[in-house]
């Protein structure tokens, strides 16, 4: 299919169009038995016209056709340590470090050192746990905000909020990022270890039940003796 050479230049040129030729229709044109009439065509979702392209889209997603972007390579680097004070986790790949950092150090409550999966949950936590004004206001009005992004509902108690999460948003009743506090007042720093000790059972995984506040815990690690670091070493963290 030979295209006129000027076409490519036209594409690169300025927007615009030629003056349209005059339109002059003869009514005899659409007289029976002839029936042509120009019309834009619309195809709905399931139309067979889309079959070919859909099959190719499918193959693409199946990575048969080609790879548009390969999976990221993980170059190994010389071992390095997490720079956050008190954390001595060692890494030899940047992506692993990135995930570690974001999971454990990024959204950390400066009061109680708990780590959260997102800034949104951290903000909610600080408000509900460490803000005395919140406690006062909560006695008079609905202050407990729904945790689902985009939902603006507020509730009188965290229990009401939980019920809303379960009924309205189909969240699990034991959703880990919504545990009620035990005590009334704001949680003071230093309470973390005690809470941690309470929170964890023998199986090493935070166990269920109302008694504990389980968010991703981050505990101040005891210092590690030099010379004992290995990739992914976790000896410096308290055993959980």
């Amino acid at each position: 299919m030979q295209l006129p050479p000027a076409l490519h230049a036209r594409l690169a040129g300025a927007p615009g169009s030629a003056e349209p030729l005059p339109v002059e229709r003869d009514p005899a044109a659409r007289t029976a038995p002839f029936r042509f009439a120009p019309r834009p065509v619309r195809f709905p979702r399931e139309h067979d016209f889309f079959e070919e392209g859909d099959v190719q889209r499918h193959l693409y997603l199946q990575d048969v056709l080609m790879q548009v972007g390969g999976a990221p390579e993980r170059p190994r680097v010389p071992e390095f340590t997490c720079q956050v004070a008190g954390c001595c986790q060692v890494f030899d790949a940047l992506e692993d470090y990135e995930h570690h950092y974001h999971t454990l150090h990024r959204n950390v409550c400066s009061f109680c050192k708990r780590a959260f999966p997102s800034g949104h949950l951290l903000d909610t936590h600080i408000l509900e746990w460490h803000d005395s004004l919140f406690q006062i206001l909560a006695e008079r009005q609905d202050m407990y905000q729904c945790l689902v992004e985009g939902c603006t509902e507020k509730f009188r108690t965290s229990r009401d909020r939980k019920e809303h999460l379960v009924m309205r948003h189909l969240y699990p009743a034991d959703f880990r990022f919504d545990k009620p506090r035990k005590s009334r007042g704001p949680v003071m720093p230093g309470a973390a270890e005690q809470v941690l000790a309470e929170a964890l059972g023998d199986d090493g995984v935070p166990s269920e039940g109302d008694a504990m506040e389980v968010c991703s815990e981050h505990v101040e690690p005891p210092p590690v003796p030099a010379g004992e670091r290995r990739a992914y070493s976790h000896r410096c963290l308290a055993r959980i």
Binding site: A32, F49, T103, G204, S216
Partner: protein
């Protein structure tokens, strides 16, 4: 993978895929395999694990003393979960999902990542029981979308995408759990890998059969469309992988015809038009495989949007009269002819919608000398031929000024060729075009007779759908 009726081995070949698509059973899933991980594990064939082994891995993962040990247990489990038998055993084991979710939400970053990979393996299953066993994890997957670890978010998104496509039960849960606002927040991520994964997940959501009623309205009500259009803006920041996903998302929305007027007010026509120009430029510059993956949904979106009444309203905008669009389309048609001829109908569909009611675009076809290239496509297939002839009719029906520019030239001999086709639709469209030429172009009938046109018509005299028109043309040719 195809969802066959209990078949374990997917049938090979595009023919089987077409059949699946016709039966609306074409299910795409993407398996994110970390290439580096695969290399490291080369030579290890995925084993089938029994209950006892799975128990062991889970216990070690939960309670092992060494971090490396715990991770290793999950890595082994993940490998096993590549086998459907192991998946089945896993989901039947009491507490297994619960434990996995526990590890997914633990504060051990690398365990978390491995647990997410196990979940991802499960999400790829063709068996809905396995996929639905992952339901307890969805609220967490959504929560993690607001995090910051791009690798992890990417994994969660692909997992969600796989779960979404496989099971309506999953979708029924994800919507009230807030998947649309979660995606709307996540789409602001600067990471291309996250965006591509998000596009994939969203495209699967939009493709659901209940999407027009239950999903697309809330997507249209969110900030997602604006962000999608932004990610489709041509320019140095346009990423092919990301653009492909969101172009398909737009296609599923548009062809569902829920509220296309809204998309038009948000500038969809303008953005897509500019993207078309950009694509044509890219196609000239590089032999890069993959541009047709983006061309296809863009062509579809533009074609369907042009049928909206709202499109007429914005017709004053330069983009819709800009003849560079026609130039771009032909460059793409040439590209498709070489690379993927089966997509030519989609390109010609757009050409039809552009030219049908537009004297301006019809004039562009003539002034840019595109009639002859168009005629070259007549030999590709019947479907393509019908579309080419339809476009030519779009031009011819506008009157003598247009037909004059179609004449003389190769048009007549091309028409005589198409009259030799046996396909009724091709011949029918040729007859329509002939009639217009006879009507508006003096000398056309005469030339037709001289080139043995009557004989060409004769062979169709007995065909029911054609005979009336054949006779009428014979009369006109002979008697004027």
């Amino acid at each position: 993978m195809l969802r066959g009726g209990g078949a374990t081995v997917p049938p090979a070949g595009a023919g089987a895929l077409r059949k699946a698509r016709r039966e609306q059973q074409l299910v795409s899933k993407r398996l994110l395999r970390d290439e580096a991980l695969e290399e490291a594990e080369e030579g290890c064939v995925a084993m089938i694990f029994g209950e006892a082994e799975i128990q062991q891995f889970l216990q070690l993962a939960q309670r092992g003393t060494e971090e490396k040990e715990r991770e290793g247990a999950l890595v082994s489990l993940r490998r096993g979960l590549q086998r459907p038998e192991t998946q089945q055993t896993f989901i039947r084991l009491e507490g297994s999902i619960r434990t996995l979710v526990g590890l997914l939400t633990s504060n051990q970053a690398l365990l978390q990542l491995e647990a997410a990979r196990c979940l991802h393996e499960l999400s790829h299953s063709e068996q809905s029981a396995v996929v639905e066993a992952c339901l307890p994890a969805t609220s967490y997957l959504l929560t993690y979308l607001s995090g910051h670890s791009s690798d992890f978010i990417e994994l969660c998104l692909y997992t969600l995408g796989n779960l979404i496509v496989e099971s309506e039960a999953v979708r029924r849960q994800l919507l009230p759990q807030g998947i649309v606002p979660a995606l709307a927040a996540c789409i602001q991520s600067p990471h291309l890998t996250v965006l591509e994964a998000l596009g994939y997940a969203l495209s699967q959501l939009l493709q659901a059969k209940e999407a027009p009623e239950k999903i697309i309205p809330s997507v249209l009500g969110s900030t997602l469309p604006q962000h999608m259009l932004q990610l489709l803006q041509p320019g140095p920041k346009l990423n092919l992988g990301v653009a492909v996903e969101f172009a398909w998302c737009l296609h599923y929305i548009i062809c569902s015809q829920v509220n296309n007027a809204l998309l038009i007010t948000q500038g969809a026509l303008s953005t897509l038009g500019l993207l078309l120009l950009d694509l044509a430029g890219a196609v000239q510059r590089t032999e890069d495989a993959g541009l047709e993956l983006l061309a296809c949904p863009v062509l579809r979106c533009l074609s369907n949007l042009l049928t909206e009444a709202a499109a007429e309203a914005v017709g004053g905008q330069l983009q819709l009269r800009d003849e560079r669009v026609v130039a771009a389309l032909f460059i793409l048609l040439q590209f498709l002819l070489q690379k993927q001829p089966s997509l030519l109908p989609e390109g010609l569909w757009l050409l039809n919608n552009l030219t049908a009611n537009s004297p301006s675009f019809c004039t562009s076809l003539l002034s840019l000398d595109l009639i002859e290239p168009l005629l070259h496509l007549l030999s590709v297939s019947n479907v393509v031929s019908v579309l080419v002839l339809t476009v030519l009719c779009n031009v011819a029906e506008k009157g003598p000024a247009y037909c004059q520019r179609l004449w003389p030239g190769p048009l007549l001999s091309s028409l005589l060729d198409t009259l030799a086709f046996s396909d009724t639709e091709v011949v029918g469209q040729s007859l329509e075009l002939l009639q217009l030429l006879f009507l508006y172009q003096p000398g056309a009938a005469q030339a037709f007779l001289q080139q043995s046109g009557l004989q060409a018509l004769q062979r169709h005299e007995e065909v029911a759908q054609l005979q009336d028109r054949v006779h009428a043309l014979q009369q006109t040719a002979l008697h004027g």
